[in-house]
């Protein structure tokens, strides 16, 4: 089974990225072997629709679950349609989050945060 984790760096020791749509990287990880593939998230800099395209990217990788911080409404719609489970990661390394996932101690996210939640005070641009 493969899972996707939003990450600020391209290694297992980098931190979880709290943003889903605008995450810097996605690591596609096999939790059993810790083998992983790095995806440079091109949608991070999109003017709009970042969550939709990020979700499409990881859906196309055939993952069964996502670990991230916050997921916006559009990304959630795509992930739900693909029947991908979404888990709220903790502020720690990707590796620590994988361990928690394996121990089933991560909380499952069912609700999206509002649009542009992770864009700070300048968010919500037109």
């Amino acid at each position: 089974m493969k899972i996707a984790i939003s990450a600020t760096g391209n290694t297992l020791d980098g931190a979880l990225d709290q943003r889903f749509g605008r995450a810097a990287f996605f690591l596609i990880v096999d939790p059993d072997t810790s083998q992983f593939e790095v995806i440079n998230n091109e949608a991070a800099g999109a003017a709009g629709g970042a969550g939709i395209t990020s979700a499409q990217t990881i859906v196309d990788k055939g993952v069964k679950a996502v670990i991230t911080g916050n997921v916006g409404p559009n990304a959630m719609k795509v992930l739900n349609a693909a029947e991908i489970a979404v888990y709220r990661g903790v502020s720690a390394s990707v590796r620590a989050n994988i361990e928690k996932f394996k121990k089933r101690t991560l909380e499952k996210i069912d609700n999206a945060v509002p649009s542009h939640f992770g864009m700070g005070l300048t968010g919500g641009q037109k």
Binding site: A47, G48, G49, Q56, N74, K77, V78, A82, K126
Partner: protein
């Protein structure tokens, strides 16, 4: 002649200036391009009789014809589509109505349908026009475009622009002959004036400044204009009386005929600025 009134910063007095100018000229066309918060009507009290729906084309997918190839998703520059388990998901509010998805579709499954995003409303003779964008809609450009289609070439036209300096302002300014930049003597006013100046310079439109809420002891706008050789068209003083009338929906020109003369003088200066 088309005169755009903009400011960068909100709340500096765009509507005060553009509505006052329209009121003072009499025979002219006033167009409120601030379609998210149109409020010129509060002061000019038009008898709105015509209403036109503004529609944009958005994709619709015939799932029976769709083979889930994802060509529409790949071609979309705005990330408005996704294909999951062979089914297309649409996010119409993100769509910029370019039609690329329907062109890219090889099976004829994607076609365009109209979606209503707001209205254009006018009085009977189209001397007053404003647009209203529906709540929750992110793209105002098509409504501004519809407003500008109705420009009367035989009259002076005053376009009350949205705040800021982004797409909706650029759309409002395009093809205008002159820009009036309204500002106030505060650090915010000056900061955003500089952005507005950079924008109109880039677009190559002649412009002048109106200082609203002007006082004797705050001269930062005048200093900036002097330094940069920008003409000041008028100063409207910081006045409790003006503010009180304004709060009741009364413009300075509606309260004191002296202001009508002053706004007519502004128009004369604008005419000279255009012809220079």
């Amino acid at each position: 002649m088309k005169i755009a009134v903009l400011s960068g910063k909100g709340g500096t007095g765009k509507t005060t200036v553009s509505a006052s100018l329209a009121y003072s000229l009499g025979a002219c066309q006033y167009i409120d391009c601030d379609v998210e918060e149109p409020n010129g009507a509060i002061f000019l009290k038009p008898d709105l009789q015509e209403s036109y729906q503004v529609k944009v084309p958005v994709p619709e997918v015939d799932q029976a014809k769709c083979n889930g190839c994802g060509a529409c998703v790949k071609v979309c520059q705005f990330n408005a589509l996704a294909v999951i388990k062979g089914k297309v998901l649409l996010f119409s509010e993100i769509c910029h109505h370019c039609g690329a998805c329907s062109l890219a579709c090889q099976t004829g499954a994607v076609h365009e349908v109209d979606r209503i995003i707001g209205v254009v409303e006018t009085d009977q003779v189209q001397s007053f026009l404003h647009g209203r964008l529906n709540i929750g809609e992110p793209i105002s450009i098509p409504i501004i475009r519809e407003l500008k289609k109705r420009i009367n070439k035989d009259l002076p036209v005053i376009l009350d622009c949205p705040p800021g300096a982004s797409c909706s302002v650029v759309q409002s300014l395009e093809d205008c002959d002159y820009c009036i930049l309204v500002t106030e003597p505060t650090p915010f006013g000056l900061h955003d004036l500089k952005i507005a100046v950079a924008l109109v310079k880039k677009m190559g439109i002649p412009f002048g400044v109106i200082v609203n809420k002007a006082t004797e002891n705050q001269r930062m706008i005048q200093d900036f204009c002097k330094e940069n050789e920008i003409g000041i068209l008028m100063e409207i003083p910081f006045s409790r009386k003006i503010a009180e009338k304004y709060s009741k929906g009364i413009l300075p020109v509606q309260d004191n005929p002296e202001w009508i003369k002053r706004f007519q003088e502004v128009y004369a200066k604008v005419e000279r600025g255009v012809n220079q």
